[in-house]
């Protein structure tokens, strides 16, 4: 049998990043096998494999390949996401270092390996050009996340959120799979290009079933990226999960969900976009408003950020609605900035957390007088989340809203803007507590040098992309050319 037909040299080079990650994960598990709790070594291997994989992935930027007979496509779009996941993975690993111990758990090799597996899954989701590959990636990601969320075995909340996530996640996967099946049944293929071709040539078995299929796919994605009314799992899971995992959970997988959603709708169903406009409009509206109003009344910072990330998913939905090159580039820009802000915010929360303390608004009172730089960074992330200039959060909102207005969605933008106003209140609340209130005992951060450097870089990039966004705009515009 001639394997070269199925696995060419190009295929190998294309999935080299995944191979590197897999090897890294296996090495970490082997380390765990022979010498328990070699945290530094495992962290080192984890970061190293992400960096190497990132290097191989970055090499692809500017070129595009079709691999495995059209199952996987590599282009600037997928490469952009690859690098985003890897960066998020690195930051998460750094945040996790000695976090689990503080929470009464133990850093095991599985933890780092699972992050690498999750990264692979996400890469498959945005590289995939076939419903089957997307499903595969989604499952790999979800299974890793279920374990990560419940990683603190002694913590009831962590266990609860693990189970909750598993049950609802399985539910969502079911929806997705059923949708994929219906699409396959009506078009006869799972390949995106062939689906698009079948639709334009009108070779569809049943319009109703196809619509149903697309609807179910949408529900599956909506679960994954937590759009209202499919968001119910997210606050509980975000709150219960170890904060380091929450940082990961609300950034990279959300980006992956949006990436895959974009790809499906842009490549497979572009002709049907108009049919879905009203639905997406409603989803965006509901998600923004419900997320925001729920965030207003939270007393737990993690929960507040969970609802805030629901709101941000609503803003991103506006970009999906636009769905032209401008909209896609706006989404990419927004996802990157959003990830940086949330990684930074959760990173700081995680290092302030100790046993039961450090997650409520009240715990942050008077923090600024004791730890000015840390508070300043957290304040910066909050202001950026609220979209104040000159932070990157503002430029992200600006790109997103201008793409929406140029397609005529002015009222949706007005509603989004009003939501932004409401959101200012709850982001500012944290700043009020840190700077304007005083307290006898303040939180004590567990800073290690690597984490300080990472938080510093995240904060600087928020300012940098806010003041000089030119380079990033070019990059996302190039990455948004998803067809090439």
């Amino acid at each position: 049998m001639d394997l070269s037909l199925y696995f060419t040299r190009q295929d190998f080079w294309g999935i080299l990043p995944e191979i590197v990650l897999l090897t890294g994960a296996l090495i970490i598990l082997s380390i765990e096998l022979f010498a328990r709790s070699q945290r530094a070594a495992m962290l080192g291997v984890g970061i190293l494999s992400l960096v190497i994989a990132g290097g191989f992935a970055a090499k692809n930027f500017g070129s595009s390949f079709i691999l495995f007979q059209g199952m996987v496509t590599l282009n600037d779009f997928s490469t952009f996401f690859d690098l985003l996941y890897m960066a998020a993975g690195i930051v998460t690993m750094v945040i996790s270092y000695n976090y689990l111990e503080r929470k009464g758990g133990e850093t095991r090799g599985e933890y780092f390996a699972l992050i690498l597996f999750a990264t692979m899954g996400m890469m498959l989701m945005t590289r995939g050009n076939d419903l089957v590959i997307i499903f595969l990636g989604m499952e790999l990601l979800s299974l890793s996340l279920y374990v990560l969320v419940g990683f603190l075995r002694h913590d009831v909340f962590s266990n609860e959120s693990g189970i909750k996530y598993l049950l609802l996640g399985a539910f969502a996967t079911g929806f997705f799979l059923f949708g994929a099946v219906l699409v396959y049944g009506t078009t006869g293929t799972t390949n995106f290009q062939h689906i698009a071709l079948a639709i334009t040539n009108n070779e569809i078995l049943s319009d109703t079933l196809l619509s149903l299929g697309i609807g179910l796919l949408l529900v599956g994605f909506a679960f994954k990226v937590a759009l209202v009314p499919f968001h119910m799992w997210s606050p509980d899971v975000y709150q219960g999960a170890p904060t380091s995992v929450t940082a990961f959970l609300c950034t990279a997988p959300k980006a992956a969900g949006f990436g895959a959603l974009l790809k499906v709708f842009l490549v497979a169903f572009p002709a049907l976009h108009a049919d879905w406009q009203d639905l997406l409009w409603a989803l965006a509206l509901l998600t923004m408003i419900v997320g925001n109003i729920s965030a207003l009344v939270q007393t737990n910072v993690k929960r507040m950020l969970a609802f805030s990330s629901v709101t941000h998913a609503g803003y991103l939905c506006i970009g999906i609605l636009v769905l032209n090159e401008m909209g896609v580039s706006a989404i990419l820009f927004y996802l990157l900035v959003y990830s940086v802000m949330n990684l930074g915010a959760f990173g700081i929360i995680s290092l302030l957390e100790k046993e039961e303390k450090g997650v409520n608004f009240k715990d942050y009172e008077g923090l600024a007088s004791k730890h000015p730089w840390l508070s300043a960074s957290l304040a910066l992330f909050m202001l950026s989340l609220a979209g104040f200039p000159p932070t990157a959060g503002f430029v992200a909102k600006y790109t997103l809203f201008s793409s929406a207005i140029s397609e005529g969605y002015i009222w949706l933008v007005v509603i989004a803007i009003l939501n932004t106003l409401v959101s200012v209140y709850y982001y500012i609340r944290l700043i009020v507590n840190m700077y304007m209130k005083t307290s006898e005992e303040t939180l004590v951060p567990f800073l290690h040098p690597l984490l300080s450097v990472v938080i510093f870089i995240l904060a600087i990039s928020i300012m940098f992309f806010g003041i000089l966004p030119g380079w990033l705009i070019d990059t996302v515009t190039q990455a948004a050319r998803i067809y090439t």
Binding site: P389, F401, S402, S406, G470
Partner: protein
């Protein structure tokens, strides 16, 4: 000199910001360096801006223009320039800088470094608002100004400071976010109509917008400015913010921040959407007049000195809006100079009330009485400032108010008649306050042994008094510089209003453009 001419505005924006960065490196406990450093920086900034004044030619065009491409993908430049309308607002900003620092010399004891850095960052942003000629950067400076002010009120304020700070930020955000939508809309329109995205003022005036779009755009911009200036009924944030802010914060709030609203009206609302201005004039004038009377009546009823001064701002700024929307050269010139005057006299009033508060730790009018006998120098200065605020001929307040009332009479006679009652009410509430605080019996023991003005306090208040007198006696150099720009503005406005092109033409042209540019 030529080099300086081209870069002076960038320096003016960048210098306090860069210096604030350096100040951050100074150790917390080194109060002396921090205070003197901030003072030196703001004084130096003021001297740079003097150059602006001396080299300014009294013509209508933008001067000291500089343009640095910033985000070429979006056609956004860092473009600056100054004309007669913005020149004196810039000068006012830099002039109040050192005074704000002096005002907080001893009264700010908690994290002095953070406070001074906030002041400097604010100064950069405020100068930026007045000199940029690209709407994108205008918005950035406009918003960037909020954060330090929020901290200044919330951290160093008094009483219900947190409530006031949050109210301040939410109110101003409400307006500016609608303005953001309008800005993005203009941004998209330039892309369709001019072929390249741009937010430069000069490009925006070329846009052909249908009446309906202009109507909403005007509304969005006007709401933002009305909240800032503040126009009745959007003023409710102001008494809280002004009262709870520390002295320096109140000086900057009243002195400069409110003027950003008036500046915005003149700079954007009138030239960008001239066609719909007549529709809004009756409403805005009515609100302005209501604000004049309402602010004065409210001021009369206040038991707290600072709150009284705060409400007097609502009244005084009502005159500015009246002047602007009377739409004559004279009235708008009066509006601009009234903004400068109000910045000076209200800034001085807040400064003086702050000094009194430092001594007695109360601002209640009923706690005072007969102060003229215990602190005569202070009382004299206070009364001079009050008279300026009332609009006594020979002091600065008179010039602005007179020009506004005279200029507006041609187009808005009814409003002027009512507003004149406001002038009388102003005299009533201010003089009544003076009577209760400075005259009468010196019957409270705490008031008998107050110390009079110190050297530092003299150095803060004396420059303001000098400028107040100078502007009152010889305002000609200022008026000469303001007028050409205003005249051009009014001429352009009248030309557009009287031009032949009907709304229908606009509508048709707009539709054609939209259809061509849509893929």
């Amino acid at each position: 000199m030529n080099w300086l001419n081209e870069h002076i505005l960038t320096i003016l924006i960048g210098f306090p910001l860069g210096a604030a960065g350096l100040l951050l490196l100074v150790k917390h406990s080194n109060l002396k360096i921090i205070r003197w450093g901030a003072l030196f920086i703001t004084i130096f900034e003021f001297f740079i801006s003097i150059f602006l004044y001396t080299n300014f030619k009294p013509i209508a065009q933008l001067q000291f223009v500089e343009r640095i491409p910033w985000i070429p993908q979006w056609g956004i430049d860092f473009a600056v320039g100054v004309d007669g309308i913005s020149l004196f607002l810039v000068l006012l900003t830099t002039f109040l800088g050192p005074i704000a620092v002096l005002a907080s010399w001893t009264s700010i004891q908690k994290s002095v470094k953070g406070f001074m850095v906030s002041l400097l960052v604010m100064e950069s942003a405020m100068v930026g608002v007045f000199v940029v000629t690209d709407l994108f950067f205008f918005y950035i400076f406009w918003e960037a100004m909020l954060i330090p002010m929020y901290f200044v009120i919330g951290i160093w304020g008094s009483g219900r400071r947190i409530y006031a700070a949050i109210k301040f930020i939410l109110f101003t955000m409400l307006g500016s976010l609608f303005m953001l939508v309008a800005i993005i809309y203009l941004f998209v329109q330039t892309k369709y109509q001019l072929g390249h995205p741009s937010l430069a003022f000069s490009d925006l005036t070329l846009l052909a917008l249908p009446m309906k779009a202009q109507y909403y755009l005007f509304l969005a911009f006007a709401l933002s400015f009305a909240i800032k200036i503040p126009l009745f009924p959007f003023h409710t944030w102001l008494p809280d913010a002004h009262t709870e802010a520390p002295t320096a914060g109140s000086i900057i709030l009243a002195g400069v921040l409110l003027k950003m609203g008036g500046y915005g009206f003149i700079r954007f609302c009138i030239p960008l959407f001239p066609k719909v201005v007549p529709q809004f004039v009756p409403l805005l004038i009515a609100l302005a007049v209501v604000g004049i009377i309402y602010g004065a009546l409210m001021a009369m009823a206040q038991p707290d000195l600072k709150r009284l001064v705060a409400y007097s701002s609502v009244s005084h700024l009502g005159f500015v809006v009246l002047g602007i929307f009377a739409l004559t050269t004279r009235s708008i010139t009066g509006g601009v100079i009234q903004m400068v005057n109000h910045g000076l006299s209200t800034g001085a009033l807040f400064l003086l009330v702050g000094m009194l508060y430092d001594r007695r730790h109360t601002r209640m009018i009923s706690d005072f009485g007969g102060l003229a006998r215990s602190i005569p120098k202070y009382s004299t200065v206070f009364i001079i400032v009050v008279l300026a605020s009332i609009g006594l001929p020979g002091l600065n307040g008179f010039v602005g108010e007179f020009l506004i009332l005279m200029g507006s009479f041609a187009t808005q006679p009814t409003a002027v008649v009512i507003a004149t009652f406001g002038v009388i009410l102003t005299a009533v509430y201010l003089l009544w306050m003076v009577e209760r605080v400075f005259f009468g019996k010196l019957d409270k023991d705490e008031n008998k042994n107050l110390s009079d003005l110190s050297k530092r306090e003299w150095s803060a208040i004396l420059p303001i008094i000098l400028v107040i007198v100078w502007l009152g006696i010889y305002p000609k150099p200022v008026l000469d510089r303001i007028e050409p720009s205003v005249r051009q503005l009014v001429d352009n406005y009248e030309m557009t209003i009287n031009s032949e092109s009907s709304d229908n033409d606009l509508e048709i042209a707009f539709k054609e453009i939209q259809e061509e540019s849509r893929p």
